[in-house]
């Protein structure tokens, strides 16, 4: 089939299939596939898929165990709840005995504890930090502000609940929640991970 464009050069469209409406197309395609050995990659894919699934089944419990026992939260203090967050990793409550070590870079973290009031101006930064964290990752909304806006729920500048921005696994109530409550939330998240529910 030939077509001529405005500059005068002919544009030739090849590979036009002459189709006979009476004849079904499928048998030809199958024959072509067998002749061109197109089935080889399909078999390869199936085999690698089986191996991958087997490996996954063997290693997933190990990664799950390692991940849930070393949750690294992002060291990110937003408001008054951050004081309780800090106290929770001090000498008295010592969150590190659960393998929870705050890190300063989102690249090293798998847990985002949103501990304070999130304003609309900050929401873009929160999403950026969340997206910078490698998978698998979890989020905890700590305190009433992060859970649902808290005392500032009807304010013009405050996000009414951080679940409007990121997926949250565990909510901790309180204004502010005590460090025990925060550690309890982290342990709850560990249980959710163990049961593969988060």
């Amino acid at each position: 089939m030939n077509a001529t464009n405005t500059s005068g050069t002919a544009r030739i469209i090849t590979h036009v299939k002459e189709t006979d409406p009476m004849e079904p197309e499928v048998p030809f395609a199958e024959v072509e596939a067998v002749q061109s050995k197109e089935y080889i990659p399909v078999i390869k894919e199936t085999l690698t898929g089986m191996i991958q699934r087997g490996l996954d089944a063997a290693t997933k419990p190990v990664f799950n165990w390692a991940g849930r026992n070393s949750l690294f939260p992002l060291h990110w203090g937003l408001a008054c709840c951050a004081i309780e967050f800090a106290a929770g990793f001090g000498a008295r409550w010592d969150g590190e005995r659960f393998g929870v070590v705050p890190r300063s870079s989102p690249r090293q973290c798998d847990l985002l504890i949103v501990n304070g009031t999130v304003t609309w101006k900050l929401s873009h930064k929160l999403i950026t930090l969340w997206e910078q964290m490698p998978e698998p990752k979890w989020a905890i909304a700590m305190g009433n502000c992060a859970t649902g806006g808290g005392p500032f729920r009807t304010a013009y500048s405050v996000v009414p609940g951080v679940n409007k921005l990121i997926p949250v696994d565990v909510y901790i109530a309180g204004c502010p929640p005590r460090p025990e409550a925060m550690l309890d939330g982290i342990l709850r998240l560990e249980r959710l991970i163990r049961e593969r529910r988060a």
Binding site: W120, S123, H124, T154, Y156, S157, P160
Partner: protein, 161 residues
């Protein structure tokens, strides 16, 4: 002209700018309250800065009186050890006030905040962006016409612009 003392300052303002300035009754926290017509604001500010020793613009803010919007300037004088309050009035729909950033550089962010909260446009401002609210936020929340929205409604409006 030498620096004016307080006793001479307000009469000097009145004699120089005539009916465009109005000395209002003062309060004990400030040296004086002066109401200025919008189009003479920069001249008055320049006069107060150069001859009135008011070298520091401590605050720019505003009040929405519904019939008009009032923009307030608090100027500090080291020599007089006190504040002078200047007010200008603008129309509530599309309020425009000349910027005083050419006289006090420190007024920059104050004017941005007044624009953010009250929607007063400062003509001649070098960088009139929002300060407290994200760029793209549609409201000026300290206006009396701003209704406190249900959070969900506000969220939808604020996120998709």
């Amino acid at each position: 002209m030498t620096d004016l003392t307080l006793a001479a300052l307000l009469p000097a303002l009145e004699s120089r700018f005539g009916p465009d300035v109005k000395v209002l009754p003062s309060r004990k926290e400030v040296l004086g309250v002066v109401q200025v017509k919008v189009d003479r604001l920069v001249e008055v500010a320049r006069f107060l800065h150069d001859q009135g020793t008011f070298t520091h613009c401590a605050l720019v803010s505003g009040v929405d009186w519904i019939e008009h919007i009032e923009v307030l300037y608090h100027l500090w004088s080291d020599a007089l050890k006190g504040y002078l309050e200047i007010t200008v009035e603008t129309a509530p729909e599309d309020p425009h006030v000349p910027s005083v950033t050419s006289i006090w550089r420190g007024a920059n962010w104050h004017e941005r905040e007044t624009w953010d909260m009250l929607g007063v446009r400062f003509d001649g401002h070098p960088d009139l962006r929002r300060v407290l609210m994200p760029e793209g936020y549609r409201f000026h929340p300290l206006r009396k016409s701003f209704e406190l929205h249900e959070p969900e409604e506000l969220e939808v409006k604020a996120r998709h612009v």
